[in-house]
Symmetry: C2
Subunit: 401 residues, 2 copies
């Protein structure tokens, strides 16, 4: 019903143009991205839960919550415009206004977003020149450039797209994302911009986005830190002429595709986690409630001791069970079973007669599936995390200076 | 009123003997410690909040909660006897019984404790031989050896003692401690054994211990992980003949000394944190409530991004403010002020015109005081944490194997 598009991105979607350029906020790399929809698009979004919220995020959140259609998203990297007070807020409004003027749009049709260092003012001259340049560069092939321009410590651009076949015709879903460090549930330092040419009303769009974000971006962790700037924004411009209405078969299929796409982007973020060498899929099953399994998964996914053991390919299940124990969830440790891929590492009553070599072989892979069965009930969840390496320390001990 | 004793330890206390030997649980280093009181001692203790609790901890907790006097504490390192099921529980009982027999004590007069790898059975033959040896080795000079024998990844033995002058005479307070990784509030992988020759009833002993632990061991963090074996146990054997009663001037002075000693041991643990190169004293002041300031301090103390910035001597206050923001406490970020020692890094309304060189100079020191003023109220707290380095990763990627 839906298939990935090779090298797809947000501009795989009909009526979406984009560009990514080097404006001068970073020394050499691209640092300014613009996404434009030919027609006004329904929009929905989710935002950081951090109490400290960057100026551009505050402005974009207001627009999105108002429920009006939008036509463009402008994103800069290299500077988060967070903790910049009134000056920062004015700069963000100015950035939005300049972009809207150059695109002949209403200010409230432009969403803005920033990512990078906290606490420094935006260099407005550089940004102004950048905006003047980028508005003339948007094209139906610019999605990958836009993906590159929103990167900070990312080592790979993150973009993908799907073709979805519905009864009434074909629609496309595409997106770009960034995120590498400061990754933690509930919108960490990560940005994702998604578009579709399906026609979707605000209410359904919001429902589908929240569902898919809840099971993708909100279940990943690199280091447990949450940023001040994170957002996922999704536009639906209706250019395909195909409608997705509430409760329809279309909604079901579209939601599945959206879920698959957001999980794919979430996994790419974790895989590209600062210093990460391994992607860990963490399944916590057999819990009494959703809340229980998610609390446990979050605790394991954020445990430095667990993450360093995986880095060292050490089947140290003691650290997993210790993390389960401190999660605050009432469990019976003697009932817990742990598997690495299909190798049983720990059975009930703490039995562990696994083959060390076999276990180490699984842990030496680039992608590992770890399953923790609580044997208490039927709730389950899947999270994604990465290992913790010297490289993470190196990157973060020297990021700003 | 109280003074530290040079090279003091738990055996600086009258009527307390101890020893530390190599029994063979570890390859070369000391791994078995025994502390004996000449006379039965009142006892109190605090224990890990991890739901997974090691067998020796379960046994010792029961004895201590019963409120009877005890006469000895036997501790092994190299093996935590945690997640070892019924066998582990039987082994722990056996370890306790053997020790009591050799010392001619009642089984319930002996507290036991283990620290080390999780999930492996105790080598009972080695332990049995060790117990037979150690019971004949206890001496009034054995405190430092005992401190050495409870070390795991610690690089330094932790021990101290104080002489306290009271109206009725002099009493002594001494202790040993261990802990390096898996350090997190509420009893992480840390053990502390404290003794005094003052005469103290259970109720006052418990109150004083909880107060001092609450402001010392429960306010430190190395990596946010909590272990299955942690405990702080305090004995009062009354050998000095000086009584500490509830509400007395003696209680006040003694409490102060106990607080100072536990803070000293807590700081030594953080300073010796796995891979740590810097000790950070973190003051969160100006909060609306105790709960608020402690939540914020805990979040900052556990943030890998904060801890790596300190390692890199990078005055990246953005990471501190981002941690404050995600702590869940309602704050106004524009009111926050941050100081590194006496250098103002961030003023109200995000002003930050500090001298980079001066800030970097402070952060290059081995001991740094960081103060975060919320400017919201009068509550304050002090926590201790350390920086996060490549060495932490190295130690923990290869600990077990």
């Amino acid at each position: 019903m839906f298939v990935p598009i090779d090298k797809g991105s947000i501009t795989s979607v009909k009526g979406i143009k984009a560009a990514g350029i080097h404006a001068g906020l970073k020394r050499k790399r691209k640092d300014l991205a613009l996404i434009v929809s030919d027609t006004p698009a329904s929009v929905s979004g989710t935002f950081t839960l951090n109490k400290v919220q960057a100026a551009p995020l505050q402005i974009s959140k207001k627009i999105i919550n108002r429920g009006n259609k939008i036509r463009a998203i402008l994103i800069n990297s290299g500077n988060a415009n967070a903790c910049t007070g009134e000056t920062g807020y004015k700069d963000a409004l100015e950035m939005q206004k300049l972009c809207a003027q150059k695109l002949n749009m209403d200010t409230n049709e432009v969403i803005i977003s920033s990512t990078g260092v906290i606490g420094e003012y935006l260099p407005m001259d550089i940004l102004k020149n950048g905006i003047e340049t980028i508005v003339n560069k948007v094209s139906p092939d610019g999605g990958v450039d836009a993906a590159k321009a929103i990167m900070t410590t990312d080592t790979k651009a993150k973009h993908c797209a799907y073709k979805i076949r519905l009864k009434e015709g074909e629609v496309t879903l595409g997106g770009i994302a960034k995120g590498s460090g400061m990754i933690m549930p509930n919108m960490a330092t990560m940005l994702a911009f998604i578009a579709t040419d399906a026609e979707i009303g605000n209410k359904v769009l919001r429902k589908m986005l929240l569902d898919s974000v809840g099971n993708s971006f909100n279940k990943i962790s690199v280091d447990g830190d949450t940023s001040t700037n994170d957002m996922v924004v999704m536009m639906a411009n209706g250019v395909s002429g195909v409608k997705i209405t509430e409760g329809s078969e279309n909604e079901k299929i579209f939601s599945e595709a959206l879920q698959q796409m957001t999980v794919q982007m979430a996994k790419e973020i974790v895989k590209d986690g600062e210093g990460a060498t391994k992607l860990i899929e963490l399944n916590v099953i057999g819990g009494k409630s959703e809340d229980d399994v998610n609390k446990i998964a979050e605790t394991i996914a954020n445990s430095p001791l667990f993450k360093t053991a995986i880095y060292g390919s050490d089947p140290n299940w003691g650290r997993i069970i210790a993390a389960v124990g401190r999660s605050g969830v009432n469990i019976n440790p003697a009932k817990i079973e742990i598997m690495f891929d299909d190798v049983v590492i720990l059975g009930r009553d703490y039995t562990h007669d696994f083959d060390e070599e076999e276990a180490t072989a699984v842990l030496s892979k680039k992608e590992i599936s770890i399953t923790v069965n609580l044997n208490e009930g039927k709730a389950s969840t899947t999270w994604w995390t990465c290992d913790f390496t010297e490289k993470y320390i190196e990157i973060n001990a020297s990021y700003r200076t």
